[in-house]
């Protein structure tokens, strides 16, 4: 049987999670390079529309894995469904987007199959017949090329932004959709999830901000937030923060940028004392211009910055506020 790449796309309440296109785009590139067959699967209850949407892309086949027990999502249900499917189909490689849901069940799935998972990869390399996945380590200070040493199937997940979802190729004609009804025995699913909800109405929509001044641990104390606020005000922008600042209660949670907060793409993202941990960077790397001020010259934020200022933000921000005010004539 031909070697197969299986992309498991993500759906929530019957709608495709768009980050799945990124993984599919990466998988298409890998399939073109290796000559492996590319198939996709969607898991849920009544998710034929999602399967049809994926079938319009360049894939050989789409499986619609169905059971009434797969809605709502539970790790037990998804592992039960995919375990039997993967045991039968024996794909060489299973790819998924590194979402919170995937983090919740794929390590369990791989373990149930006595396999391992390379999580949160930012790309792959196929060198001399050897498949490597590149992933960040030490909060982005290093990257590593990681290989699988055991037998297939191999599991890997791609970080949001690893590939461009809008580059996913359409197929000539729609691929065949095969419905696979899986039986999940009573008692397999132990967790009883309730409907997702939002804590409070988000007062601030950072996604609409053109200018964001964002603070990280380097701000040191709560009282120093005021300094960053002054700069944001002078620039006519919004203030935001990395997770630790909001965890400490120095700024409200709705000011948080990153994987657990908002994803932003302003004209200017000015990062003050932000090291650039992966969880933060995925939320702001789409900014048009990134200016980073940090005293640590090795901070990963500088890898993605357009302008890097290595220095003490407490020395630089006060004169910067004055210069901005002067420039604006205020």
């Amino acid at each position: 049987m031909a070697d197969t790449i299986l992309v498991v796309v993500e759906q929530r309440e019957g709608k495709l999670n768009r980050v799945s296109w990124e993984t599919l785009a990466g998988a298409q590139a890998l399939a073109a390079e290796t000559g492996w067959v590319l198939e996709a699967a969607v898991v849920g209850s009544g998710v034929g529309d999602v399967a049809a949407e994926v079938a319009a892309k360049k894939v050989s086949k789409v499986y619609d894995i169905e059971s009434s027990k797969l809605e709502p999502y539970t790790p037990d249900g998804f592992v039960a469904a995919l375990k039997s499917f993967i045991e039968e189909k024996k794909p060489k490689l299973v790819l998924m987007p590194h979402t919170y849901q995937v983090r919740d069940f794929v390590p369990k799935l791989a373990t149930a199959l006595h396999r391992s998972l390379i999580s949160d990869a930012i790309g792959y390399k196929y060198e001399g017949g050897k498949l490597l996945f590149t992933r960040q380590m030490f909060q982005g200070k290093f990257v590593a090329d990681v290989s699988f040493t055991g037998d297939a199937p191999y599991f890997a997940t791609f970080q949001s932004g690893a590939y461009r979802g809008d580059k996913v190729e359409d197929g000539g004609a729609s691929a065949r959709v095969e419905t696979v009804n899986v039986a999940i025995a009573d008692g397999v699913i132990r967790n009883k999830p309730e409907a997702p909800f939002k804590e409070a109405k988000q007062a601030v929509d950072l996604t609409q901000a053109e200018i964001i001044v964002s603070v990280g641990r380097g701000i040191k104390e709560q009282k120093n937030i005021e300094l960053a606020q002054q700069l944001a005000t002078a620039l006519g922008g919004e203030i935001a923060a990395s997770r630790p600042i909001c965890d400490s209660g120095w700024l409200p949670m709705d000011r948080q940028v990153g994987s657990s907060g908002q994803t932003v793409a302003p004209k200017l993202y000015l990062a003050l004392g932000i090291s650039g941990a992966i969880q933060h960077v995925v939320g702001m790397k789409g900014a048009h211009s990134i200016i980073a001020i940090n005293k640590d010259s090795e901070a990963p934020i500088f890898e993605i910055a357009d302008i890097a200022v290595v220095g003490n933000l407490f020395d630089i921000v006060p004169p910067l506020i004055e210069e901005v005010k002067k420039a604006k004539g205020t």
């Binding site: 790790p75 037990d76 592992v79 979402t99 919170y100 983090r103 919740d104 390590p107 369990k108 791989a110 373990t111 149930a112 391992s116 998972l117 999580s119 949160d120 490597l132 992933r135 380590m137 030490f138 982005g140 200070k141 290093f142 990257v143 590593a144 090329d145 290989s147 699988f148 040493t149 132990r190 967790n191 009883k192 999830p193 309730e194 997702p196 909800f197 804590e199 053109e210 641990r217 909001c246 965890d247 709705d254 657990s260 090291s275 992966i278 200016i291 090795e298 890898e303 993605i304 910055a305 357009d306 302008i307 890097a308 200022v309 220095g311 630089i316 004169p319 910067l320 002067k326 420039a327």
Partner: protein, 256 residues
């Protein structure tokens, strides 16, 4: 409730890291600290014990230096510690680390196992979920709240983009804990004193070796990220830096 907290020692956040000679790992001569989400996991376990009674046991794997993480946990209020001690534990992947943990606690009847949601070094975010599967327990990830109820526990999971979800689940269970679930406590002087007399069980690599398999992942090469972006570095006295930045804001970023 009897709770096991899995903890990890990682390089300090702002420690300058250097590659080892073979370019497969970092040089070990750096300062270490407790992995931040694990500190929140410990705090949550201590709070659950204060509410419901029981016992908090902390476990880690790694060389002698890793014991510091357990000492701190004992000083904060954990009852006893298990140290899987040896250099060989450092190179284990998440699958084998979870197997080593499972093997060394198989005779204990824990109600809950907590881990941080991921580590600051590898960042695989897998050990807790793998451990749940090995133990045959239910699990939930990225937890922001835990309440005991008649049938087990009710937890609040963090989802993406500001969403949350409550999940009812039976015990025993494994939970991966999100940073910020609580406010961390400091160890007290008396706590530090008492910690010296608390049990610290050591488990050698040989004792669990039989339960492990080959690593299924291999780090072929560790390296500094190749820059894909052209970055302009601005240096000089603060006043000059400020002037240059304003120039860029006006002429390149076009926001002034």
């Amino acid at each position: 409730m009897k709770i096991l907290v899995c903890m990890k020692q990682v390089p300090q956040k702002d420690a300058p890291l250097k590659l080892n000679e073979s370019g497969t790992w970092i040089r070990e001569d750096v300062s270490y600290e407790v992995n931040e989400p694990d500190a929140y996991a410990l705090e949550e376990a201590l709070r659950q014990k204060e509410k419901h009674g029981g016992e908090v046991v902390v476990i880690t794997s790694g060389p002698a230096r890793a014991q510091q993480v357990l000492r701190e946990a004992l000083a904060k209020g954990a009852d006893r510690a298990i140290h899987l001690e040896g250099d060989s534990f450092v190179g284990l992947d998440a699958f084998n680390t979870a197997k080593a943990f499972a093997a060394s606690v198989k005779d204990e009847n824990f109600d809950l196992v907590f881990t941080g949601l991921q580590s600051d070094d590898y960042g695989f975010a897998q050990t807790g979920v793998v451990l749940a599967e090995l133990l045959g327990w239910s699990h939930a990830t990225i937890i922001m709240q835990i309440e005991k109820n008649d049938t087990g526990i009710r937890v609040k999971r963090e989802l993406e983009a500001g969403y949350f979800q409550f999940v009812d689940m039976p015990l025993p269970a494994v939970l991966t804990i999100q940073s910020g679930i609580n406010k961390l406590r400091y160890a007290t002087l008396i706590g530090i004193k008492q910690a010296k007399n608390k049990p610290m069980k050591k488990v050698s690599f040989d004792e669990v070796k039989g339960s492990l398999g080959d690593n299924l992942l291999k780090i072929e090469k560790l390296y500094i990220p190749l820059k894909t972006k052209k970055t302009e570095v601005i240096e000089g006295p603060p006043a000059e830096v400020a002037k240059k930045l304003v120039d860029r804001l006006r002429n390149e970023v076009h926001v002034l």
